[in-house]
């Protein structure tokens, strides 16, 4: 007799195929909006707290800036784990857990007695929470959309810009009224809203890995565990040339991308602008960032130009403007360059994510996002301390801005070596003609069962059959 559990498997042959491209998808975009606001918008506005920490703990600015570095690094390093958990349990519980952890980190931070406590709470705990929230939400949006993916991503990411615009004065106000301890407590509560965002992500189908449990009973534990890890973490991507090229490019982008957000305020103060003038520069950059995201998402969906090409255009301009920032000596000049920089930085972001399914295919997008963030964390860990060291060594921020710009340009050059970059039409994602047989692995054997456009016709090695 047939077992009831097998029914769902045969019924929903490909969970990711049902891409509504609208409807509940827009609610998930809203969830991405709030999530990116509460993760990256929050991180960007933490500068207010750093001034307080430097004074309270009597530590150097560099020691305090490690808090953000650790948080960002955790968000990226733990992404594959988030992706794996998502593959097993589905996006919803993972995001809800992540929201809880991020809030918990800030609540514990409000009781900190030393800088180390802040590293552990705001850095590690909240960073882990952010990882569990961000990657699954982005992947869910990608699953819900195909035709309007870039626009959905662009709209979702506007949360970052709007939040950094609104959060800076809000956090300043909170610190003035409640001191940094009370303000951190309230931020923890604010971060709890991500639990509600997670609740909004209705699963489109069963998680990828659950379906395969039936087939594994025949094999021994060791290879079972190995293959489970392999498929959860999507490790087949590590032998995919397009993915690796993209990961290296993103690493370079990451090295240069965050530097201005860390140093722009300090740079403005350094050249003797007032506090409010400096804050205004950041606000202007933020607004331009928001506009850039939506504009780029909408323009990319029009299909006039291939996504990797658009990415190269935006990142080239971004690198150029970054290098021009130190050259702007007057206040209007700095405003204009920052505006241009903000627009290009915003324009680049949705494309950097939306191009992933084009490179690796939608089935592997979750694992790809996880792995790419792990790899790009190297860039992030290098970028900010390097620019801080350059500032201490040379006395001004000129060298660090130029370094950031050159990282971006380097990433742009690497992007140009993507497979199929120089062709005018986009290839079919996992393209049949170029895949060598070594790409065919256990992973593809599994893919064969789930998606009709899986490519490898050779007999899958390993024991898995659909």
């Amino acid at each position: 007799m047939e077992k009831p559990q097998e029914r769902p498997e045969t019924q929903q042959s490909s969970p990711q195929m049902a891409a509504p491209d609208g409807g509940w998808g827009w609610v998930v975009v809203g969830s991405l909006f709030v999530t990116s606001a509460l993760v990256f918008g929050l991180i960007r506005s933490l500068g207010v707290f750093f001034v307080e920490f430097v004074q309270y703990f009597d530590e150097s600015a560099q020691a305090v800036s490690w808090i953000t570095s650790i948080g960002l690094a955790m968000q990226q390093l733990m992404s594959p784990i988030a992706a794996a958990a998502c593959n097993v349990y589905g996006a919803r519980p993972v995001v809800m857990m992540g929201g809880f952890l991020s809030g918990l980190g800030f609540i514990l931070a409000s009781q900190a007695k030393s800088l180390l406590h802040l590293y552990m709470t705001m850095g590690f705990t909240s960073g882990l929470g952010w990882a569990l929230v961000f990657t699954p939400t982005v992947a869910s949006v990608m699953q819900y959309f195909t035709m309007r993916r870039s626009l959905a991503m662009g709209l979702g990411f506007t949360g970052v810009g709007l939040a950094s615009f609104a959060f800076s004065p809000l956090f300043q106000y909170l610190v003035e009224v409640y001191a940094w301890r009370g303000a951190l407590l309230l931020l923890g509560g604010l971060s709890f809203n991500m639990i509600a965002c997670g609740a909004l992500i209705r699963p489109l189908g069963n998680p990828k890995v659950v379906e395969k449990t039936e087939n594994s009973t025949n094999l021994n534990r060791c290879s079972f565990l190995r293959s489970r890890i392999y498929e959860c973490f999507e490790l087949s991507l590590l032998s995919h040339r397009g993915f690796l090229t993209y990961a290296v490019a993103i690493t370079f982008f990451n090295a240069g991308y965050f530097i201005p957000y860390v140093h722009l305020v300090a740079h403005s103060r350094n050249i003797d602008f007032t506090e409010y003038q400096a804050a205004f520069v950041i606000s202007v950059t933020g607004v331009a960032d928001i506009v850039g995201r939506v504009a780029s998402g909408w323009a990319s969906d029009l299909g006039k130009m291939r996504m990797p090409h658009m990415l190269v255009v935006w990142t080239g301009l971004l690198g150029l403007f970054l290098m021009l920032i130190p050259a702007a000596a007057s206040y209007p000049g700095l405003l204009v360059v920052s505006l241009a920089y903000g627009f290009c930085a915003g324009a680049m972001t949705p494309l950097a994510f939306a191009v992933v399914p084009e490179i690796v295919g939608i089935e592997r997008v979750l694992g790809a996002l996880g792995l790419v963030q792990l790899i790009e964390s190297v860039g992030g860990l290098l970028g900010a301390p390097l620019s801080g060291w350059l500032k201490d060594y040379t006395g001004t921020y000129t060298a660090s801005f130029i370094t950031a710009g050159s990282f971006i340009v380097l990433g742009m050059l690497v992007t140009m070596t993507l497979p199929y970059f120089w062709s005018c039409t986009a290839p079919l994602p996992p393209s049949p003609s170029n895949r060598k047989s070594q790409d065919c692995s256990i992973e593809d054997g599994l893919l064969k069962a789930t998606s009709p456009d899986s490519v490898c016709e050779t007999v899958p090695r390993g024991g898995y059959t659909a």
Partner: protein
């Protein structure tokens, strides 16, 4: 010969008296000299500060920072006067009041009129010095004062009971020393770190000073005054401190947590309410799947009829 002896003795006495008188006179004059130069340094040092006013009715304000008692020569230079008179009269005022006997006639010198005066500045002499001309509305004011601490926080510094807080003051010039006071109604109470090491810590670093107040209680709230001591006069600024209990931020925090719980419950409930329809449809699919498989597997079984019947019933 006694006449000459007497006259020579008288002459010697006279010359001795003259010499003594000379010596006394010299000493007196010496004393007078030190009095008139009246400068602490060995050479009389006079700092000259100038301001140029062009035409009529131009108001210029110059801020001068004074750290120690000193002599200052203030100079007002007037140019581009209409009618170019041969001479004009000008006088000095301090804080709006005319200084006695300060009126002078200034002759024209290459299209310029220069009025200058040397002032001795001690503690009570700090203020606004202006040169005023009777024929002209132009006014040049020199503001003589100790360094003023700008960028004061208008908002109070906030902290919690049991926590510690750092209050800071900074200046552009290094004072001789920094002192901190706590304002108690109308009087100042000096903060003595050695008498109270558990509650206060002071760190002075040239142009900056930091007062750390530990083990805060509600009574520690209030106005703290930092005083930069200079030779001539101290420069003061104040910082307001507010100490509150942890229940203050706890109230909005609990409100936010309640809001999140309500939202999550609503979202999950709403989805559950929409779910039974989906469950019904999936169950019917399962059921038809089951019947289809049964008919396929037991095509020549005896239950064929029942299956067909079951199918017909649906």
């Amino acid at each position: 010969m006694p006449h000459t002896q007497q006259s020579s003795r008288e002459g010697a006495l006279f010359s001795m008296a003259n010499v003594m008188l000379l010596i006394v006179l010299l000493l007196y004059c010496d004393g007078m000299n030190t009095e008139t130069t009246s400068s602490p340094e060995s050479d009389p040092v006079i700092t000259t500060k100038k301001a140029v006013s062009k035409g009529q009715s131009q108001v210029i304000i110059e801020e001068l920072t004074i750290l120690t008692p000193q002599n200052i020569e203030l100079l007002c230079n007037l140019t581009d006067l209409p009618n170019n008179p041969l001479y004009i009269t000008g006088y000095w005022t301090k804080d709006g009041q005319e200084i006695q006997n300060s009126e002078e006639t200034v002759n024209r010198n290459n299209e310029q009129y220069i009025l200058k005066r040397t002032f001795r500045i001690e503690t009570r002499d700090l203020g606004n010095y202006s040169c005023v001309f009777r024929e002209n509305e132009a006014q040049v004011t020199f503001v003589l004062d100790v360094p003023v601490m700008k960028d004061k926080r208008d908002k109070p510094v906030v902290s919690y009971i049991g926590d510690s807080v750092v209050l800071e003051c900074k200046l552009k010039h290094t004072p001789n020393t920094w002192n901190w006071y706590k304002a108690n109604n109308t009087e100042k109470v000096f903060i003595n770190v050695t008498a109270n090491p558990l509650n206060y810590k002071i760190l002075n670093n040239g142009t900056k000073t930091k007062l750390t107040v530990l083990n805060l209680t509600e009574e520690d709230s209030g106005k703290y005054i930092c005083s930069a001591e200079f030779d001539i006069k101290p420069s003061v600024s104040y910082v307001q401190l507010k100490v509150m209990s942890y229940t203050e931020p706890l109230k909005p925090f609990i409100a936010i947590v309640v809001e999140v719980v309500v939202l999550v419950t609503l979202i999950l409930l709403w989805e559950k309410c929409n779910k039974p329809q989906q469950n019904n449809s999936s169950e019917s699919d399962v059921y038809s799947e089951q019947t289809r498989k049964l008919t396929h597997d037991e095509s020549n079984g005896s239950e064929n009829n029942t299956a067909r019947q079951r199918k017909v019933e649906r």
